[in-house]
């Protein structure tokens, strides 16, 4: 499978390096980092590329580069999912995934890594199952992500920036707190044309759970009754034009975490699960059905009457939600050609 796994800091320092097969050149991390760094102007290095017969696959998480090197024709999806999972496990155990956290906990990370990958082949990879084998205690570092406003949103994770190790659930000193956090994170992508009409929109959402429940009790989660999924469902919803569609939640497609039992989902929209420790996406969904965007954008470009060499660009952003709500960490980006 994979010959090497490594984690590089944003500056290219090797923080973690594990070699499994010994068939990769010594300077692989430098070769890899140079390639990623200097891929080309205006373009980003793709997650998979090959140099000198070695395929490098990487994911970027919290500024860190988690990468694997191999000489085989592996399934890229397996390797990238594995890398992502490793990132998730480190986060579950150290509370956050950051350069500082990995450096401080490098022995713990190696310990985890040895259980996750043996000889380049993935082994146990759930934070839950790994607890059995892990002995080192995490050194928690403070998360800086919360202070910087938009960061919590932009990385697509829940706003619940809880910093807690899954190893907390095994504490016996009385400091243990049984908690579970359920966040619904949605990303709405909408395109308006120049006259302000909504051209296309899509919602990508996920129910993200962070569980720290000792003893892993079963939980149930009920979703709206009027949830419709996929085309089959929408065909069965009754007559067209009956006007009932507005109150429905319609999804194109969704998928569920392994731990979820769907026995009562069809009839009652009930999800049953025994949540494993740590963070995971309970359900992910996608909807392209009509939705009302929270904002509308209008733009207007006109010549400046005062000067022949100037144009005026007017961008109007209109909030479409009630005055009892407010948006935080709103950012506007106007791309401009370089001078």
């Amino acid at each position: 499978m994979i010959s090497q796994f490594f984690i590089l800091s944003p500056r290219g320092d090797t923080i973690i390096l594990r070699d499994y097969l010994g068939n990769i050149p010594k300077d692989s991390t430098e070769t890899f980092f140079r390639k990623v760094r200097f891929w080309g102007t205006g373009t980003d290095a793709p997650p998979v590329f090959q140099i000198e017969g070695v395929s490098y696959l990487h994911v970027k998480e919290a500024g860190l580069l988690l990468a694997a090197a191999t000489r085989e024709n592996v399934s890229p999806a397996v390797v990238l999912e594995l890398l992502k999972r490793i990132g998730g496990i480190i986060k579950d155990y150290c509370g956050v995934l950051s350069e500082e956290a990995v450096r401080k906990n490098c022995v713990l990370v190696y310990e985890l890594l040895d259980e996750i990958i043996d000889y380049g082949h993935p082994q146990s990879s759930s934070s839950e199952a790994l607890k059995e084998f892990v002995l080192n205690q995490p050194i928690l570092v403070k998360s800086h992500a919360r202070g910087s406003g938009g960061a919590a949103f932009s990385n697509g994770r829940g706003p619940t920036g809880v910093v807690k190790s899954v190893l907390d659930t095994t504490r016996t000193d009385g400091g243990r707190r049984d908690e579970i956090f359920v966040d619904i994170v949605e990303r709405l992508t909408a395109t308006f044309n120049s006259s302000g009409y909504l051209q296309s929109s899509q919602i990508d959402g996920a129910i993200v759970v962070k569980s720290y429940l000792a003893g892993n009790p079963a939980i149930r989660l009920a979703l709206n009754d009027d949830l419709l999924i996929g085309r089959q469902d929408s065909a069965a919803r009754g007559a067209w034009g009956s006007g009932g569609t507005l109150d429905l939640v319609q999804l194109d497609d969704c998928n569920f975490h392994e731990s979820v039992s769907l026995d009562r989902f069809e009839a009652e929209r009930m999800l049953q699960l025994v949540p494993p420790d740590g963070e995971f996406a309970l359900m992910q969904y996608r909807s392209t059905y009509d939705s009302k965007p929270p904002f509308r954008v209008y733009i207007d470009l006109e010549d400046d009457p005062a000067s022949p060499n100037k144009v005026l660009l007017i961008i109007k952003l209109r909030a479409e939600y009630g005055s009892d709500k407010s948006a935080s960490a709103l950012e506007g980006v106007v791309p401009m050609p370089p001078a």
């Binding site: 010994g22 997650p47 017969g53 024709n73 399934s75 999806a77 890398l83 993935p122 990508d204």
Partner: protein
């Protein structure tokens, strides 16, 4: 400095290790040791060599051998550095062997894992016994570690593994072990050893499938890989497997989903209807995976989308809006989406897609705007109504962005090669560009190619070429080559205006230091001296419009990539042979893996086009190219250019001489100059002598290549056109000839079903033109018109499980039989 510092650190660590080694043990000391080991590992990670501390490390840890945290750190250290200390190896092995017999299964497993990581081949004997014991251990953690141990040993001593009968044990565990992780590792071993096929039975497969949910996601992928190699006995079995795996498509793990998709696609390859259903089924789950925040996995899924879309564009032609770029997509995602958009574009959605792409053309990111132009070019090449899209492309020329203009010209060139008839529409916009504004060599080459090929429509063409030819030496090689060919071509079309141009270009070429340019210049010169008609046949022959480009990936190549679905081949867009070396794990493979190659017609220099055209005639020519240098007085290449230097110094007047020569020697195609040609000058022409060419004239040369192969029995017009309404009217009126069937395999039928446009183009290559098509099973209506008469020929083609059922109706029924032959031949060659 650095080494001194590291020596200092190593020395400090050494003294601390020694300090902590002695004396008794207490919790405080253990904590200190743990911390010390942590530093040791950290320093090792950043590349410092800690191997010299081996002895001290082992002694230090030995005194607290009951502390597992410390033990783990120790094992980690050992596996990293033991290989550097072979003499201390035995010490280590003894310690690990002892730990393999511990009570605690975790320690047993850890020790076994570390033991197996010592990769020195002459130690195999020490490993066999603990691995054998491990395979029979009562704890699954030890068993699974032992199975991986088998794999490790197998990698450097396969013989030993076979002799010890370990593979048999592994096979047994594969079918009988209760722990999924053990089974998963057994699968890894079987895969690695290459014994999948001999083991793959229905029983094994079904037992794996029945418990697939127990496995980790990675092990599920392995099971799915096993399934994808299995050949079911019946259709019922196919459905059974697919029903058992259907819910794997709704997992959030892209690896599992893609592995399942591969199984489904493979299973239904010979069942066109079900294959179609599968493609419909996988659309939504894959789409959901691409919409996540994880760009990396989205990238992989989109790359697989592209492979499927190229095989079956019809499936995605209705959901093309999902492939529109989002502002914050990374560029590798945008690139793939643009390729997807051009792959799924068809007559129905091309305008919508191009409208969206036009937005990207004005993006501030130059890379994106270029790729967008390229995508529009690709789409225009594929759709039927090319003129509508041409307007968009021509519009890009007016944006005044040099990169966009450059890319547009390159695309225009390919477009004109496939659809010469659009030249009249396109030419006005192209001609309005000033050549100085096109500074990229490739684009400039394309521009010159257009001027040369379609110069008879462009008033200023000779003048524009002259402008460029003046700066001969400052032009790039591709530009000079293109100039040379364009000047020659234009000369045949407009001799009086281009004589001077051709003369100066030829003399510049003769004096050029680049071997290719030099040779091509001489080659043209000699051809022209010999016979202008023959030169025209070689340099500017009437070429049939291109139906495909050499850079396009061949269907065979695409099939091979498809066979390796869910692997790196899909990402690199090459079959694995092209990038994987099987030369052993430590081999120094020198294969330079490029980044992902852009599929589809890759834009190439105009010179390439010209060269290709010329090359197709080259074998029949009397003058092999490399003879050129020896003709110049027996010098080798380097000297050849030296000899030519004086010529370039005297360029001003040799150029004139050449012009004169041509003015007299050349039998221009126009009737006006034919009189001049009668008075061909003697061979003692100064220029000809200077180049030492006189001898070549006397050498006998074989006759020019025979004209292209005989026309088929039934000659059809390539440009036949018929309105669907007229077709219907005729169809109702005419008598049908007997119906016949072109027998085809299920795979070929699937190919036709999914690549209707390509199929229509292949048939159109024979003069049988599509009127309408679509549906499932697929239907086509074609028509054809013989060159010799106006009588129409109509075809109705219906897809069925056996092949294509064809009905012909002809105004002249005698032609029906030859049309039948022609059509069958076209179909078989496509399939």
């Amino acid at each position: 400095m650095a080494s001194e510092k590291s020596r200092g650190e190593v020395g400090e660590l050494r003294s601390q290790l020694m300090r902590l080694s002695g004396g008794g043990s207490n919790t405080e000391k253990i904590a200190q040791k743990r911390d010390l080991f942590r530093r040791l590992i950290m320093l090792g990670t950043i590349g410092q060599d800690m191997s010299s501390l081996f002895m001290q490390v082992i002694t230090c840890a030995a005194s607290d051998s009951q502390d597992i945290v410390l033990k783990k750190s120790l094992f980690q250290y050992i596996t990293t550095y033991a290989n550097a200390n072979p003499d201390l190896m035995l010490l280590t092995i003894n310690m690990l062997l002892k730990d393999c017999g511990e009570q605690d299964p975790t320690i047993r497993g850890l020790a076994l894992r570390s033991l197996c990581s010592l990769t020195i081949s002459n130690l195999t004997e020490y490993l066999m016994a603990p691995i054998q014991r491990g395979l029979q251990d009562r704890h699954p953690y030890v068993r699974r570690t032992a199975v991986m141990g088998v794999l490790k040993v197998h990698n450097f001593d396969a013989e030993a593994v076979r002799n010890a009968g370990m593979l048999e044990t592994v096979r047994e565990l594969l079918t009988s072990d209760a722990d999924p992780m053990v089974v998963s590792n057994c699968m890894s071993v079987i895969q690695k050893v290459g014994a999948v096929h001999e083991l793959l039975s229905k029983d094994l497969l079904y037992s794996l499938l029945n418990r697939i949910k127990e496995f980790s996601e990675w092990a599920q992928c392995q099971v799915l890989d096993f399934v994808s190699r299995y050949v079911p006995e019946s259709k019922e079995e196919v459905y059974d497997i697919m029903n058992a795996l259907d819910d794997r498509l709704s997992t959030p793990n892209s690896a599992v989903v893609l592995a399942t998709v591969k199984v489904f696609l493979n299973l239904t390859l010979s069942m066109p209807y079900d294959h179609q259903q599968v493609l419909e089924r996988i659309k939504d789950p894959l789409m959901t995976l691409t919409s996540r925040d994880h760009y990396e996995t989205a990238y992989v899924v989109l790359a697989h989308f592209l492979v499927i879309a190229q095989r079956a564009p019809v499936i995605f032609s209705s959901i093309y809006t999902s492939f529109y770029c989002r502002m914050n997509d990374p560029s590798y995602i945008k690139d793939l989406k643009l390729q997807l958009l051009s792959a799924v574009a068809d007559d129905g959605n091309a305008y919508e897609i191009v409208t969206e792409l036009t937005e990207y053309v004005t993006d501030i990111n130059e890379h994106l705007s270029r790729e967008a132009v390229r995508a529009v070019g690709r789409i225009a090449l594929e759709v039927q109504d090319v003129t509508g899209l041409l307007d968009r492309l021509l519009g890009f020329l007016e944006l005044g962005k040099s990169k966009v203009t450059a890319e547009t010209l390159i695309q225009m060139k390919d477009l004109l090669r496939r659809y010469p008839h659009i030249a009249e529409v396109a030419i006005a916009s192209v001609a309005s560009i000033s050549p100085q504004d096109v500074d990229e060599p490739e684009a400039r080459g394309a521009f010159i190619w257009i001027l040369g090929e379609h110069g008879n429509h462009i008033q200023d063409a000779p003048y524009l070429l002259e402008l460029l030819a003046v700066d001969w030496t400052s032009q790039a090689v591709v530009v000079r080559l293109a100039l040379l060919t364009a000047a020659a071509k234009l000369f045949f079309a407009r001799p009086p205006e281009c004589q001077a141009l051709l003369g100066s270009v030829l003399s510049s070429a003769a004096a050029d230091t680049d071997q290719d340019i030099h040779d091509r210049g001489l080659f043209y010169y000699r051809l022209l001296r010999r016979s202008v008609e023959e030169a025209q046949q070689v340099i500017s022959p009437t070429v049939a419009p291109l139906s495909s480009f050499a850079e396009e990936q061949s269907p065979e190549m695409m099939d091979r990539i498809f066979e390796e679905f869910n692997s790196l081949s899909v990402i690199y867009r090459r079959p694995s042979q092209a990038f994987i070396k099987d030369g052993g794990p430590s081999g120094t493979a020198s294969e330079t893996g490029g980044p992902i190659t852009v599929p589809g017609p890759k834009a190439n220099g105009a010179a390439m086009a010209a060269a290709a055209a010329a090359a197709s005639h080259a074998p029949a020519l009397p003058l092999p190219v490399d003879e050129g240098s020896s003709l110049l007085g027996g010098h080798d290449d380097d000297d050849g250019s030296d000899v030519l230097r004086p010529t370039s110094a005297a360029n001003s007047h040799t150029g004139d001489l050449l012009v004169e020569t041509f003015a007299e020697a050349v039998t221009a195609p126009g009737p006006a100059s034919s009189a001049a040609a009668q008075q061909a000058p003697p061979v003692s022409d100064p220029m000809a002598d200077l180049l030492g060419l006189s001898s070549t004239y006397s050498s006998p040369s074989p006759p020019p290549p025979p004209p292209s192969p005989q026309p088929p029995v039934l000659a059809l017009r390539r440009d036949a056109q018929l309105q669907p309404a007229v077709f219907q009217q005729l169809w109702g009126r005419l008598q049908a000839s007997p119906t016949f069937t072109v027998p085809l395999s299920a795979t070929a039928m699937t190919a036709i079903q999914h690549r209707q446009q390509e199929f229509c183009r292949a048939v159109a290559g024979r003069g049988i033109v599509r009127v309408a098509s679509g549906g499932n099973p697929v239907k086509f209506y074609f028509h054809a018109q013989p060159v010799s008469s106006t009588g129409r020929l109509l075809l109705e083609v219906l897809g069925s499980a056996q092949g294509l059922k064809v009905t012909i109706k002809a105004e002249d029924p005698t032609l029906a039989v030859s049309l039948q032959e022609l059509f069958s031949e076209a179909v078989t060659s496509f399939a």
